[in-house]
């Protein structure tokens, strides 16, 4: 039943043109980048922190959940409104409020598209390093709420490492501002860190103050082709042992390569088991060149059949476009895919890949492996057809087994996608009961009535 009183109050609070109630509109706000979905009762498109606060207050008054979202490209189900309530989209809060060239900061609204921020700061010679593959279809707010990573994390760190301040709407509708432009700040608890990765369960992030760096002036990108996957995964450590910290160190396996090639015809080799994409960057051209040469030498020594260094910006962009398209292009192989996000210590990568391939062989379902090999963050993607119940049951077992592999190798469930609902059943095993209890108490303190994105991250009691 539609909640008429709630809808009317929302319309009065932020304007009827920002409130959407038809079944078709609710369908549009029912999904994210996974195969899960559930209908909200209403979707809203606020344009200021004050409007967000009004919405959250109304959610409290009517005792309905409020689920914040950006562009809903998440891969953990974190922004799906399970159980209805208000889908609160921050996409119209998309203004870059300030780029401070002296202090190297950007102050932005949560709905700014990550790629738009990247290009805006790069025009001024500055650089926002976090680079989720979804940079064109995800927002800064969503990146912070899920602490998104990306290829460049190996050298530059994840989204959370760039958050200096936040504006957050709390569960009672108060607007909290934390942090600031001072680089060192140890006054009180680090609340920025608390909200980073909280997936909309502790507050709604509406603005962020982000740290920038100067743009590296030189970049070299190499593609190394490995006939044996095992050699590719060993090479990752060999490169770092050689004293080079590449900006990125990405891996994709045979199936991933085939999918991209079918989708984009970029001329990738189809007869190798793995590709590494390795990039070095910096402000000294010679150093950058020297590093990529070292990388190429190490790759050849550890079994690469060929190493090609991109000569032009077009060639480089082509490689990155290929890497960014791996995940979406898997849909060519099967109607559904479940993309995992485990991390293991770097030295355990070859063993992790071996074990995951064995699981795939055991169940007879393809598992594609690609990811940020440099930081041990792998994305095994299980390909299946959800309409086939037997396959779906297998997938559920495979997920458990992949997590077990990660934990056995001293890794964890998620490196950059977040917990959402998909990994929620496994969180206790990953964190242990005491850590979980502390986290529950934090949630209860900030959202005593449980209206903020309920059912996410922390499992029910």
């Amino acid at each position: 039943m539609p909640n008429h009183a709630l809808i009317q109050h929302l319309q009065e609070a932020i304007g009827a043109e920002k409130v959407f109630t038809s079944l078709e509109d609710r369908i549009a706000y029912s999904y994210d980048g996974t195969f899960e979905q559930d209908l909200p009762d209403v979707a809203v498109l606020p344009e200021s922190s004050e409007e967000v606060a009004a919405i959250v207050r109304l959610a409290g008054k009517h005792d309905v959940p409020v689920v914040a979202r950006g562009m809903a490209s998440g891969l953990a189900g974190a922004s799906i409104p399970f159980g209805g309530g208000i889908a609160l989209s921050l996409t119209r809060m998309n203004h870059i409020l300030e780029i401070d060239e002296e202090n190297h900061t950007a102050w932005v609204e949560a709905g700014v598209i990550t790629a738009d921020l990247e290009s805006a700061v790069e025009k001024r010679g500055l650089f926002y390093p976090p680079d989720p593959s979804s940079n064109e279809q995800s927002t800064i707010g969503g990146n912070i709420a899920c602490n998104a990573g990306g290829p460049r994390c190996l050298k530059y760190g994840v989204t959370g490492d760039y958050v200096m301040g936040l504006t957050v709407v709390l569960a009672d509708g108060q607007i909290l501002k934390i942090g600031g432009k001072a680089i060192k700040n140890v006054v009180g608890y680090d609340l920025n860190a608390l909200f980073v990765g909280s997936e909309g369960t502790l507050g709604v992030i509406t603005e962020a103050l982000l740290r920038l760096t100067t743009k590296p002036r030189f970049v070299r990108t190499a593609r190394a082709e490995f006939p044996a996957l095992e050699d590719a995964s060993r090479t990752v450590n060999a490169i770092l042992d050689a004293g080079v910290v590449p900006a990125t160190l990405e891996m994709m396996d045979e199936t991933a390569i085939t999918c991209i090639e079918e989708a984009m015809e970029l001329g990738l080799p189809l007869d190798v088991e793995a590709l590494l994409i390795i990039e070095t960057d910096g402000s000294d051209e010679e150093a950058v060149l020297r590093e990529i040469e070292t990388v190429a030498r190490v790759c050849r020594k550890s079994g690469a059949r060929e190493v090609v260094v991109a000569e032009t910006e077009e060639e480089r962009e082509r490689l990155w476009r290929a890497r960014r398209s791996v995940s979406p292009s898997l849909a060519r192989k099967a109607p559904n895919k479940l993309g995992e996000d485990i991390t293991v210590p770097r030295s355990a990568i070859p063993e992790a890949i071996r074990r995951i391939k064995a699981i795939s062989a055991d169940y007879g379902l393809p598992i594609v492996i690609f990811g940020h090999a440099g930081d041990g963050n792998l994305h095994p993607n299980i390909l299946f057809d959800k309409r086939n119940e037997e396959e779906w049951r297998m997938v559920e077992r495979i997920v458990g087994e992949i997590f077990q592999v990660a934990m056995d190798l001293e890794g964890t469930l998620s490196g950059e996608h977040g917990v959402g609902t998909l990994k929620r059943p496994y969180i206790e095993q990953a964190l242990g009961p005491l850590s979980l209890d502390v986290q529950r108490r934090i949630k209860e303190a900030l959202d005593p009535r449980g209206i903020l994105n309920p059912g996410k991250v922390l499992p029910g009691q």
Binding site: E24, A28, G33, S73, S89, S134, S329
Partner: protein
């Protein structure tokens, strides 16, 4: 931005959309390139949402489609940016065309499009005027074009409804026939024997009506024993070239060329002598969706510009396959002129940012939409069809 890759193979008509929508994995890449979503920032206007609504119809979550359901399929430019970018190979614009048909069969076609389809079926053009008026654009030329009233011709210039019936766009057809005559091309005009190409009906979901008009046009060109049809309208071109053979289920033994391809050849074989005293000018070029992304014609207009002295081309960042629709696609203008205008405003802004004083296109619809946007936004960029520039440049 999107880099050049081959345009996707638009499958021939009638490929069942049945399974295609299932391949959408909701990654959201289409949101980044959809001109409508980028304007409204409302998920409901995204290609991904349209596919989700279709899925809800198929799977019964929407038990009985309403006008509001149908609107999700009609409120779209069909510019194909999403289809082009989709790594899962979902042909969103094709799916929408077919679904518009389904909606129309259920009586859910929006009123302005019903009226448009009726006008074409009854009067054979989109304007509602009698089809005899198809040559009125020739009235104020210094002398009547040689192509009028011909029984036979090597080339038929298929003028298209807009350039033939809307005075605002007469100059496209006028400039093109002047070029044909300067180059001594043996061409003919169909006059009232030319009917609407059928595209507007097809994308409103009336394939049967569209087929009737297609059949007529093919017969009319065959009657002239012409080997080649050339169009200035990219939509006529796209439809003739890529849809006619499949929809009519036959090989069509007629070469279909767009005016840009035809003129590029004339220039490169020195059949159109050019002035050398043309003033220095900087232009940008807007790739029409039907010509570029949907038909793969990117080079011909650029080859033309390379031939014209004193003209410098500066590209907009969103060019070629990544071109941003002018706002005039998909019959959206008939449904929501304000929305169409707002999208056009984005594009003219992009043109202005290049510093060019002229935005060229190769489409009378793009030309008109961009012209109106420049006016309403008070942006000092002239909008012109590329054949108009070529005519100015000829000796």
């Amino acid at each position: 931005m999107t880099e050049p890759i081959d345009p996707p193979n638009h499958p021939p008509v009638e490929r069942p959309a049945e399974d295609d929508y299932l391949h959408c994995i909701r990654c959201g890449l289409c949101l980044a390139v959809c001109p409508l979503y980028r304007l409204t920032l409302n998920e409901t206007d995204s290609p991904r949402a349209r596919v989700a609504v279709l899925r809800a119809v198929r799977e019964g979550l929407i038990e009985e489609p309403s006008d509001d359901t149908a609107a999700r399929f009609f409120r779209c430019l069909l510019c194909g940016a999403c289809t082009f970018t989709c790594p899962s190979g979902v042909t969103v614009d094709r799916i929408l065309e077919l679904t518009r048909g389904e909606m129309s069969d259920q009586g859910l076609m929006p009123e302005p499009l019903v009226a448009l389809g009726d006008r074409i079926a009854e009067g054979h053009n989109i304007s509602g005027e009698p089809n005899e008026n198809r040559l009125m654009w020739t009235d104020n030329l210094p002398s009547p074009p040689k192509g009028i009233g011909k029984e036979r011709a090597e080339v038929v210039y298929f003028v298209g409804c807009v350039s033939a019936m809307f005075p605002r766009s007469y100059s496209v057809a006028q400039s093109f026939v002047e070029l044909l005559e300067k180059a001594g091309v043996n061409y003919g005009l169909l006059g009232e024997r030319e009917w609407c190409c059928g595209y507007p009906q097809a994308i409103s979901g009336e394939p049967d009506r569209a087929r009737k008009t297609m059949r007529h046009n093919v017969e009319a060109v065959r009657a002239m024993e012409a080997k080649t049809v050339v169009t200035t309208c990219p939509s006529c071109y796209h439809f003739w070239k890529h849809t006619y053979p499949a929809a009519l289920e036959e090989e069509i033994d007629i070469d279909v060329l767009h005016a840009t391809e035809f003129v590029a050849d004339l220039l490169e074989t020195d059949r159109l002598p050019l002035r050398d005293d043309l003033r220095e000018q900087t232009v940008t070029y807007h790739d029409p969706c039907d010509l570029g992304r949907k038909s793969g014609v990117f080079d011909a207009p650029r080859r033309i510009l390379a031939q014209i002295p004193n003209v410098t081309l500066v590209e907009m960042p969103e060019n070629r396959e990544g071109s941003h629709c002018c706002g005039g696609g998909g019959n959206l203008e008939s449904l929501d002129p304000a929305l169409s205008g707002a999208i056009a405003a984005r594009r003219i802004q992009q043109a202005a940012e290049t510093g060019a004083k002229t935005v060229l296109s190769a489409c009378q619809q793009c030309e008109r939409t961009l012209f109106s946007a420049a006016r309403s936004e008070r942006i000092r960029v002239r909008s012109k069809d590329i054949v108009e520039l070529v005519l100015e440049a000829t000796a």
